[in-house]
Symmetry: none
Subunit: 222 residues, 2 copies
DNA sequence: TGATCATTGTCAGTTATTTGTAAGGTTCGT
DNA sequence: ACGAACCTTACAAATAACTGACAATGATCA
């Protein structure tokens, strides 16, 4: 895991870098503000540790400029002991955490774990099948890149099919999923639903297995 | 924004709750570990403040049980000064930040802002969408560069939407965050709120996904 | 204290979309 | 060729969302 360590005191820098390396991080060190900013802007880091007292450009400005450019990797800042207004500023500038110097290495490691875990927990809940892509966050669907509007019922239906892709889903299963279980059995609402979706999705996406049910096919072997 | 405050000292609890309310949070307070756990497990909070020294179930256990049950709202823990091993434990148990008692209210507010926006995947305290820009520190909004006044309710609503940028937020979610959970269901106050904000923000900023909810979008999509 | 103003929830009326139903057509397997 | 399974279309009821007006509330200020 790549980590950028920005710290102007060479003694601290060397010690911290050593411990971090021993704990599995791939550490780049910088001591100058300008160069630190450049590095963070260009390289892909998983996390950065940033000392606020720096020659050149000060740490706060570095952080702000990163955030302005949408560099969203988590940043832990190092502050002087007791200077709590500096911490507030740092956090409001977009820092994810701070640590007052001097600090215990054990604590630094714990907080790195925490902010990395946080940042990586942003998995995008997207289901893909064939050339369609269902985003559960935005409740939106794109087919071949172009957006397709779905009504709530259609969305729920397609979502269920997408979760069971390549499996045959019977009308009864769909009925139980979409409606209360005591729904009238002699209704053709599911068929209508499928038809409406097909009109939007195009042919060949939902196939019928006569007598068994429907399948959302993954590969589009027409 | 709903917040759960877990603190057994009634004096501290009352003071902190007062300041938080004044800053736009919808605060529920709990003093007992068991009940705090239950509340956090059942309700939808945007963030929680958790004192580690509690009667009943201790704070660390409360936190662990939340995380085991996939309750992933950000948690800020309050620890005794100087007890850094407790902090490390807390963070590894799933806390997002800590604060040592006694603390400055200003700092508590800053860190709350930080963990809330971090949990939502935002790196910066300034959230932009389309041509609007929301500064969560000053609670101010500009559209196309010119400032726009928001009422408290409108700000809270827009803030919540901004935290969930590009995600569809249902009316129910909004209701739960803006009002207490026992709010009347058959009211259209959220719709009215949205309409009032749209009048100020212009069209295309808040889009409706009929049947699902609202989205604060980047504005350029039809 | 009383007037004024902003805020916010409620309501009624309107518009637009969604969805179940029914009726008739088509396809498939045997 | 027959029936069952499935498709398609149109329609009407139900539902969701928008809007403007109004009233209650509480803050502000002379």
């Amino acid at each position: 895991m790549r980590l950028l360590l920005v710290e102007d005191d060479p003694l601290i820098s060397r010690d911290v870098a050593a411990v971090l390396s021993k704990n599995g991080y791939l550490v780049d060190t910088e001591s100058n503000g300008e160069e630190a900013w450049f590095k963070g802007d260009v390289e892909e880091y998983a996390v950065a540790i940033l000392d606020l007292g720096l020659p050149g450009m000060d740490g706060l400005s570095v952080l702000k400029r990163w955030r302005e450019n949408n560099r969203n990797f988590p940043v832990l800042i190092l502050t002087a002991r007791g200077n709590w207004s500096e911490r507030v500023e740092g956090i409001d500038a977009g820092a994810d955490d701070y640590l007052a110097k001097p600090f215990q290495m054990e604590e630094l490691l714990a907080r790195l774990r925490a902010i990395v875990r946080r940042a990586s927990g942003q998995a995008s809940p997207v289901i893909t099948a064939g050339n369609m892509r269902l985003d559960t966050r935005t409740k939106s669907l794109t087919v071949n890149g172009s957006p397709v509007e779905l009504s709530p019922m259609e969305y729920r239906c397609l979502h269920f099919l997408a979760l069971n892709r390549d499996k045959v889903v019977s009308q009864m299963e769909l009925t139980e999923q979409l409606y209360a279980q005591d729904f009238e059995r002699d209704s053709n609402s599911v068929e209508v639903l499928i038809a409406r979706m097909r009109r939007k999705l195009g042919k060949g996406v939902i196939t019928t297995k006569r007598g068994f049910g429907y399948t959302l096919s993954d590969g589009d072997n027409s």
